[in-house]
């Protein structure tokens, strides 16, 4: 048994995974998707939903083979101490990098939409202080906060969409299938790279209260996310048209700006920013936590907490030097990041699972121990 992390219930785990995938996906991916697939983006979402279920099944069937062990312990068992640790360090570095890009896109939203004068260093530093505090308090604390924030996030999102429905024109979704299949598939690959982030749960399976109930989570998460994304993207295309959506940096945020209700409900986008800051900082907390925990396990530490603050300094630097501007983030996210995420997360999980299956069939023959 590794570092004592505290226990979370299955519902908390479900909401944590949903939030950790959705928080950035809902804001960033519609523009990337419509750049690739135009008004056919909803087809990409359906394909990505199926891929997401497959990824979830893979992750959970790997995790449930070792319900009492975390990723580091069983990858050492499967691949040997050196290769196992190397794989886990790649996993941890990937989540470090992911956290840095999330922080960068967080401050990109705040700078472009609400605070154009503030230097990026200040926004990043304050977000990281908040997040590091959450990670310091531990898994149980931010899972519980997430249990409150995530339902509010979904309710606010649906509420705003309902208010925007009168201005939508669903004729803009026609014609269907005008984009070549390769573009639609690349769109679903972009979306799948967000789904694949759900693999962070590999580190948290030993801290689930009843790990047997986790099987249902993969399907539920994928259905929730697919439905929310369908509403989001179909609504955006109906409201702005696919070309206009593709040009925007944060289309879901622009949608909130269009809401006017009877002359008294205006400027509702501040509410969106508030909720989104909460949601994305919980997402960053989850990934930060997983990354720090993986490093602590790799180096055989008794506690992950000493690493939290030094990590914060590294993150501030990484989030500032990583990307030049929002255009660079967009190109990175639509071209390089999907391949990176698929290679690291799906590839790593698949590798471990195949090694496990190979070992098991070897053991049955009684040749390899």
């Amino acid at each position: 048994m590794g570092i004592e992390q505290g226990k979370i219930s299955n519902r908390q785990a479900l909401l944590l995974i949903c939030n950790s995938i959705l928080a950035s996906m809902i804001l960033i991916s519609p523009a990337l998707l419509t750049q690739e697939a135009g008004q056919d983006a909803w087809i990409s979402i359906l394909i990505a939903g199926v891929l997401g279920v497959l990824m979830g099944i893979l992750v959970i069937s790997l995790g449930l083979r070792f319900p009492q062990k975390n990723l580091v312990e069983y990858s050492i068992e499967l691949l040997g101490p050196w290769l196992g640790k190397a794989v886990c360090i790649i996993f941890a570095l990937f989540f470090l990098y992911l956290t840095a890009y999330l922080i960068d896109s967080f401050s990109a939203l705040l700078i472009t939409e609400t605070k154009p004068e503030t230097p990026i260093v200040v926004l990043n530093t304050f977000l990281i202080i908040l997040v590091a505090y959450g990670v310091y308090l531990g898994l149980e604390v931010f899972s519980r906060v997430n249990e409150i924030i995530f339902p509010i996030f979904i309710v606010v999102f649906l509420f705003i969409f309902c208010l925007a429905v009168p201005e939508m024109d669903f004729e803009q979704l026609k014609p269907i299938f005008t984009h070549p299949p390769s573009h639609i598939l690349w769109g679903s690959l972009i979306l799948f790279s967000f789904y694949a982030e759900g693999a962070f749960i590999l580190m948290l399976i030993p801290s689930l209260r009843e790990s047997s109930g986790v099987r249902k989570i993969a399907g539920t998460v994928s259905v929730i996310l697919t439905v929310v994304m369908l509403i989001d993207v179909v609504g955006l295309i109906a409201l702005f048209g696919s070309q206009e959506t593709a040009r925007m940096a944060f289309p879901s945020f622009e949608l909130a700006k269009t809401v006017h209700l009877g002359g008294f409900l205006e400027r509702i986008e501040s509410l969106v920013v508030g909720i989104w800051v909460g949601s994305v900082s919980l997402k960053i907390m989850a990934f930060y936590y997983v990354s720090v925990l993986t490093f602590a396990e790799v180096f055989n530490l008794k506690d992950y907490r000493p690493l939290v603050l030094p990590y914060a300094i590294i993150l501030v630097v990484l989030s500032i030097i990583g990307w030049e501007n929002t255009t660079h983030i967009n190109i990175f996210l639509s071209r390089y990041y999907p391949l990176l995420a698929v290679t690291v997360l799906a590839g790593l999980t698949l590798l471990l699972y195949l090694v496990f299956v190979g070992r098991k069939s070897g053991n049955k023959g009684g040749k390899v121990k």
Binding site: F299, L307, V317
Partner: protein
């Protein structure tokens, strides 16, 4: 530039002052070593950033590694 260097050093000292006594008290040698390594990496990066020195950029490395694959697969 001078102010930011001073600020980085102050943050480093603050973090060390907050964590090291706890670790010394519990006699966790391994934790202390790993903590020091991470802190030194972080401070080196932050100092390089505030002195405008070139820092190896992971994004550039990733773009370099995946460039052939992107050229092969990316439809646009």
């Amino acid at each position: 530039m001078f102010v930011s260097v001073l600020f980085v050093l102050l943050v480093g000292v603050g973090v060390a002052y907050y964590e090291i006594p706890k670790l010394m008290q519990q006699e966790q040698k391994r934790e202390l070593i790993v903590f020091a390594c991470f802190l030194l990496i972080g401070l080196a990066l932050a100092l390089a950033l505030s002195l405008n020195l070139p820092i190896p950029n992971p994004t550039a490395a990733i773009e370099f590694i995946f460039d052939p694959l992107v050229r092969l697969l990316y439809p646009g």
